[in-house]
């Protein structure tokens, strides 16, 4: 393989890894606060893509407005999901809320089949995103450049919120000790809503950028990326934002580089994530950047 191919794959891996990272952050933040794997997170990602599609194709509003609306509505959807499916079970055993998450995921997927139609839809990609730019022989689609940039900006904003604002401080407090946080007069339900809002907004942005990169929407499109990003979050150390980003990038690179170096493994592309998961869990069960948080009592 020559340098050009390597660079080509590097750019592709960077944008795929960034997308994984954005979605993985949603898993890790919700887990950090509720110790819950939000199995419906991949479906929230799918909703984001579809809402942008309807805005652009059906209602023919300007694409930036469609994107903004899709992000806003998906955010509300994520917050509503928590209200409806998780909050009523706040004091129930953790297994109940996990089953509720799986149920919510199936419900959203099947509703999407009914409402959006099971046949795939072509996502409209403007020339700006689809155009290829050539840098010394390396072809880069506009969207592949935009994805990592958007991810970096969002990550900076997120880290600022978590580490520099009072709300972020409250989020960190709730994730370490929920009862002690209550004793600080922190409105825990509000913090949980904000966490779901942030995770869902990132999933929506991820879903829209995914649709721009792979312009084909289908109701079950969230399952595989959702599963992989959950793995990315676990590999990086669930609960850690930096870990989710690291896990996402790592997964993106492993997937694309393996295909580049060993093209005969292309058919097994989706299995790499699981191999990575098994290896990391064997070597470092808490994930690469994870700390042992223990069971919550």
């Amino acid at each position: 393989m020559d340098l050009q191919t390597f660079l080509q794959q590097f750019v592709n891996a960077l944008s795929l890894g960034s997308l994984y990272a954005l979605i993985a952050i949603g898993y890790t933040m919700v887990y950090g606060i509720l110790r819950l794997i939000n199995f419906a997170h991949g479906d929230v990602f799918m909703i984001g893509g579809y809402l942008a599609f309807y805005g652009i194709s059906t209602f023919v509003i300007p694409w930036w407005l469609a994107v903004a609306l899709a992000i806003a509505l998906t955010t509300l959807f994520g917050v509503g999901l928590e209200r409806a499916a998780y909050r009523p079970l706040r004091d129930s055993p953790r297994i109940s809320i996990m089953i509720s998450a799986i149920g919510a995921s199936f419900l959203i997927e099947n509703l999407a089949i009914v409402l959006f139609d099971a046949r795939p839809k072509a996502f409209p990609v403007s020339d700006f995103f689809a155009a290829n730019y050539v840098f010394s022989g390396v072809y880069v689609a506009g969207i592949s450049l935009i994805i990592p940039l958007v991810t970096i900006v969002l990550l900076a904003v997120l880290l600022w919120i978590v580490h520099r604002t009072k709300t972020g401080m409250a989020m960190r407090a709730v994730s370490t000790d929920i009862d002690a946080a209550r004793l600080m007069a922190i409105d825990v339900d509000r913090i949980i809503s904000i966490t779901f809002a942030i995770g869902s907004a990132l999933a929506a942005i991820g879903g829209i950028m995914w649709a721009l990169k792979y312009p084909r929407l289908e109701p079950l499109m969230g399952i595989m990326p959702g599963l992989k990003c959950f793995i990315a979050a676990v590999v990086g150390g669930i609960g850690s934002i930096a870990g989710a980003v690291l896990g996402g990038l790592l997964l993106g690179f492993i997937e694309l580089m393996t295909i580049a170096f060993l093209p005969e493994l292309t058919g097994y592309k989706d299995a790499f994530a699981f191999v990575l998961l098994i290896v990391v869990l064997l070597v470092k069960p808490t994930g690469l950047l994870g700390k042992n948080q223990g069971e919550k009592v």
Partner: protein, 235 residues
């Protein structure tokens, strides 16, 4: 005045509190003593709304507190320093103190209170940028008390503040309790160290298996044979 009447709490099938009643008059130090599992922590946690009470009443200056959210209870001036300190180990001293004042928005007064806490506990000032998880038990207890003071409590409840501390810190904590009370804060103190608690308290209540068996002034209880036998290891 904080009045608790016939407070009952069940955990599953266990009757943790069997209708207890006690009064915490404004400006006083009241202590609850008793063996492990007697229901002392449950009493404090149910006053804060962290544990749901089955029946009874917690009235604070005539207002019913039972059934309110913890946030509202803290905002009304009742604050708990929980058992085991429960400072946020991954947050710095400054951040822990800021969280103590989470419900307040009077910035200048918050900063003044932070300085006041640093005056009470100079050690916290020296290490204000460090994470609370790196602190010793005694230092964490200071931080937990300082954090509670940041909300400007009218009633400060403390759950086993001296548990597991070095003797030097135990003395210090009880000095601080006196000082906080002298500044006008009402104190409800739960302690296993009955001697020290009764020494500072105006009134003491003795709890056994979910009920209050008897009460009296701190002095009287220190002299009481039952207390001396069961809790002071004398006679």
């Amino acid at each position: 005045m904080l009045s608790i009447r016939n407070l009952s709490v069940h955990y599953g099938g266990i009757h943790a509190l069997r209708g207890i009643s006690l009064d915490v008059p404004a400006g006083k130090i009241v202590t609850l003593i008793g063996a492990n599992g007697a229901g002392k922590s449950t009493t404090l946690n149910s006053i804060m709304g962290l544990v749901k009470a089955g029946s009874g009443s917690v009235s604070w200056n005539g207002e019913e507190m039972l059934g309110r959210q913890t946030k509202r209870i803290v905002e009304s001036g009742i604050v708990l320093v929980p058992e085991g300190r429960r400072v946020f180990p991954n947050l710095t001293v400054d951040e822990n103190l800021t969280l103590g004042a989470f419900a307040r928005h009077d910035k200048a007064a918050i900063e003044a209170d932070r300085e006041h806490v640093f005056k009470l506990f100079p050690r916290l000032k020296e290490r204000h940028k460090q994470k609370a998880g790196t602190f010793s038990g005694g230092e964490q207890q200071m931080l937990a008390v300082g954090r509670a003071l940041m909300s400007r409590p009218t009633v400060l409840m403390m759950d086993e503040p001296s548990l597991g501390l070095a003797p030097l810190f135990v003395g210090m904590i009880f000095d601080i309790i006196r000082q906080i009370n002298a500044e006008g804060v009402t104190v409800l103190l739960v302690e296993q160290n009955a001697k020290a608690a009764l020494d500072v308290a105006d009134t003491g209540y003795v709890m056994e298996t979910g009920s209050i068996s008897f009460s009296g002034t701190g002095k009287d209880l220190l002299a009481d044979d039952r207390v001396r036998k069961a809790y002071l290891g004398e006679g």
